[in-house]
């Protein structure tokens, strides 16, 4: 046996009432580093010992709120920022959909925190306690009750403390010693630990080997339902359909998700990122007539029927002397005339300066129709009779 020092004084009791009474006296004597050990929880012991309220609820509350905040943040970032995707017409970030996850994360964070903190705040796991050196103390898990006052307590005095405990009618009082030298783990614990860790690595090594080794024997199928799923893979054959193909061709008249606006020329007026100077759709009389109609409806109010920037809005603004009004551009300016078709299309779609974008009001093909009609307006300003086809010259003379 090595050298020892006093750990504390331990008093033993035979029933609940006397250990409760003893606890009250120790509490009233002002001791702080002491504890009661019983075979089962005793209602009212917290009060008898004067146990101060634990800080645990506050930390758990904080952890719960952190779980709430983090889960909302995560859902906001994944749904609304990183990968926005419309699901049944809901906003990208919509609180009702986030509440189930937020609720569960709150509980998860609070629960796990409470579980771990109960261990941490109680100083667990603890492999050794000096009280277990006492032979009598072993009955603490059976039918005996103990009060132990530690020598670390500022009020501890070998004589006075013993006297205090003796006054509580204990079944026995004992001094508990602890070794001076720090308690070291027994060697067998280290061996068991080392062996366990070594064994735990084996599955990882085997898995690594299996993933990197070649073998002629067919692989094992542990979970058949997952390895052989009743589904058709891309490019596979299937007897289900007459043409033998598993992949179905696109149904006529439909557009696959994400493929609606693949035609950059048609939708954006661009080819390879540059403004296109050609029409993506066939040009004919019908399109021209449509363009005239749409132009007169949407454009003429500002740009005027002739395209001179003298629409009714512009006239009114001039006559009421609206100082801040920016007059509409005349479509016969050289600058505009030189613009490629695609750029005019882009202006109609997106707007420019104070002109708003008309994408919401004018469908794609109508925009191109307006581009066509506008080009015609521009051309007719500088046109001569030679530009008119022979058979129509008579008509306009």
């Amino acid at each position: 046996m090595s050298e020892t020092r006093t750990f504390g004084i331990v008093a033993e009791y035979g029933d609940v009432d006397s250990v409760m009474a003893a606890a009250r006296r120790v509490r009233d004597a002002g001791y702080r580093r002491w504890d009661v050990h019983t075979p089962f929880p005793i209602h009212g012991m917290d009060d008898a010992m004067g146990v101060r309220p634990t800080i645990l609820p506050w930390i758990v509350l904080g952890a719960g709120l952190a779980g709430l905040g983090l889960s909302i943040l995560l859902q906001w970032w994944t749904n609304a920022v990183d990968y926005p995707y419309i699901i049944s017409g809901k906003p990208f970030f919509s609180l009702p959909a986030n509440i189930p996850v937020a609720f569960e994360s709150t509980i998860l964070f609070a629960g796990v925190t409470a579980f771990l903190l109960v261990f941490a705040l109680n100083g667990l796991p603890r492999f050794y306690h000096p009280l277990f050196r006492l032979e009598r103390f072993k009955k603490v898990t059976d039918d005996r009750f103990f009060v132990a006052i530690e020598a670390r307590d500022g009020k501890f005095d070998p004589e006075a403390t013993r006297k205090l405990l003796a006054a509580t009618n204990p079944a026995s009082i004992e001094l508990c010693e602890e070794p001076l030298a720090p308690v070291v783990l027994p060697n067998w614990v280290k061996v068991v630990g080392l062996v366990s860790i070594t064994l735990a690595v084996i599955p990882l090594v085997l898995a690594y080997r299996a993933r990197n080794a070649r073998s002629d024997s067919p692989r094992l199928h542990l979970v058949g339902d997952m390895d052989f799923q009743p589904k058709l893979k891309p490019q596979a054959a299937s007897g289900l359909f007459a043409d033998g193909r598993a992949m179905r061709p696109q149904v006529e008249g439909t557009v696959a998700r994400g493929e609606l606006r693949e035609n950059e020329h048609l939708w954006l007026g661009k080819i390879g990122g540059e403004w296109a100077d050609a029409f993506p759709i066939p040009v004919d009389e019908v399109l021209m007539e449509r363009g005239r109609e749409r132009y007169d409806i949407f454009c003429s109010v500002c740009h005027g029927y002739g395209g001179d920037g003298d629409g009714i809005v512009a006239i009114r603004a001039r006559e009421t002397q609206q100082g801040a009004f920016v007059p509409p551009t005349s479509l016969h300016e050289d600058r505009v005339k030189k613009q490629p078709f695609g750029q005019i299309y882009g202006t109609i779609m997106n707007g420019i300066r104070t002109m708003p974008g008309y994408a919401a009001q004018i469908p794609v093909e109508d925009r191109w129709a307006i581009v066509l009609y506008m080009r015609a307006l521009q051309r007719q300003r500088d046109a001569s009779i030679e530009d008119v086809p022979l058979e129509k010259r008579e008509k306009i003379k």
Binding site: H43, D46, D47, P100
Partner: protein, 413 residues
């Protein structure tokens, strides 16, 4: 408290009862309640919407009273089912509440009988022509018709009253003979009793409340109604114990019992929110017109404010308010939250029922006025009077229950 054999013998010999002042209080309540109802009736006859608004107000008040009584039945069965020790001193109060179920049946009679003869002010489907003309309701007329409705309502009340009678009978007789066999028998029948209670309460909610808007349906609606019952009974138990502690139950109800009642109330507040949200989120997510219409009515014409009051006032604010252990162990604070939750529970029923005034959910205009307050207050005060007068005949706790000592000395830690 320290419970010795003397305490138990004393309680068994002279179980606490309501004091001498109780009958006067009960009679006064009857008079005041009746007067308030007359005021409500006059307002109803004078108003534009007439008896329709009056009937809806009556349904709200009657459902409120019924929810406390049903909550009492739930509490009694649950304590037997779980063989709970802590709650024994509270159980008689819950039994008394459940014993109000016959009275609740009286309150519901003026709503059921007109429906039986085809008067459709409350339940539009009672008008057979209207129901046949409506393509959705026409398919439901096999279930929603005056006769079958009345049979079901009668069945619910008979089942509840008989269940209560059986438990209360054994409990009262145990006061005399102290037989532990009764406790065992009550535990045994608590399990099927709970099953019957769950089914009848669910279908009652479907019939009495959900069918006000016969187009709409929600399978969780019964649980929602039950959550309200649970909040009602725990709030009432807290207030009842606080009142009785000033008199006959002094020194018997301790802070530990309030702590547990507070935990229950807190749990049920959140349970209500959980169920209410479960109903909402599925409908919100699916966004199908025939389901969203119910919430659409409650998002317009001023009902959106009532909805907001429920979200914050019925869930978030009391959740924060009841979270702390110190609140649950403080009589004044817990009493405040109990009274507050009863008010919120009343608003909840109002929110379920009154959007159906004038057009059965089709119009959904705000319907709230003096008539509602008069009828609710009248029914509640009147029922309180009936309760007090009936409670005189019983002891205030099961004086010879085998677990009485455990309950008296109950501690949370």
């Amino acid at each position: 408290m320290n419970v010795g054999p003397d305490t138990l013998a004393n309680l068994a010999e002279r179980p606490p009862r309501l004091g001498e002042k109780a009958p006067a209080l009960g009679r006064r309540s009857l008079v005041i309640g009746a007067l308030l109802l007359v005021v409500g009736l006059v307002l109803g006859l004078a108003g534009d919407q007439g008896m329709e608004h009056f009937l809806h107000a009556w349904l709200v008040g009657a459902t409120f009273v019924l929810s406390i009584a049903l909550g009492g039945l739930f509490f009694v069965i649950l304590q037997h089912l779980t063989a709970a020790g802590w709650s024994v001193i509270l159980r008689r109060q819950a039994e008394m509440m459940a014993s109000m179920l016959p009275w609740a049946a009286v309150l519901f009679a003026p709503l059921v009988l007109p429906t039986l003869i085809g008067q459709a002010d409350l339940y539009p489907w009672a008008d057979q022509d209207w129901a046949a003309a409506d393509p959705i309701v026409a398919k439901k007329t096999g279930y929603l018709n005056g006769v079958f409705f009345s049979i079901r309502m009668a069945l619910y009340f008979v089942v509840w009253i008989e269940l209560t009678r059986w438990f209360v009978k054994h409990s009262n007789e145990q006061d005399q003979d102290g037989s532990a066999a009764r406790t065992v028998a009550m535990r045994k029948y608590a399990a099927p009793g709970m099953l019957v209670f769950a089914l009848t309460a669910t279908f009652f909610a479907f019939d009495a409340l959900m069918s006000l808007d016969p187009h709409w349906f929600s399978t969780i609606f019964g649980v929602y109604f039950f959550a309200g019952c649970a909040i009602a009974v725990f709030s009432t138990l807290i207030l009842g114990s606080l009142a009785l502690e000033r008199g006959p139950l002094q020194g018997i109800v301790t802070v530990e019992h309030y702590h547990d009642l507070g935990k229950w109330l807190f749990g049920m507040v959140f349970f209500w929110g959980y169920i209410a949200f479960s109903q909402y989120v599925l409908i919100w997510y699916a966004d199908i017109p025939e389901e969203t219409v119910w919430y659409a009515h409650r998002s317009h014409h001023g009902w959106q404010y009532v909805s907001a009051i429920l979200l914050f006032g019925h869930l978030l604010i009391p959740f924060g308010g009841l979270l702390s252990r110190h609140v649950k162990r403080n009589r004044a604070a817990l009493g405040f939250w109990a009274a507050y939750m009863l008010l919120q529970h009343l608003i909840d029923i109002f929110w379920l029922v009154n959007p159906n005034v004038g057009g059965h959910g089709a119009g959904g205009a705000m319907a709230f006025g003096l008539i509602d307050v008069a009828v609710w207050a009248g029914l509640i005060v009147l029922s309180f009077g009936v309760f007090v007068l009936r409670a005189r005949s019983q002891a205030l706790l099961p004086a010879r229950d085998p677990r009485l000592a455990e309950s008296l000395s109950f501690q949370n830690n």
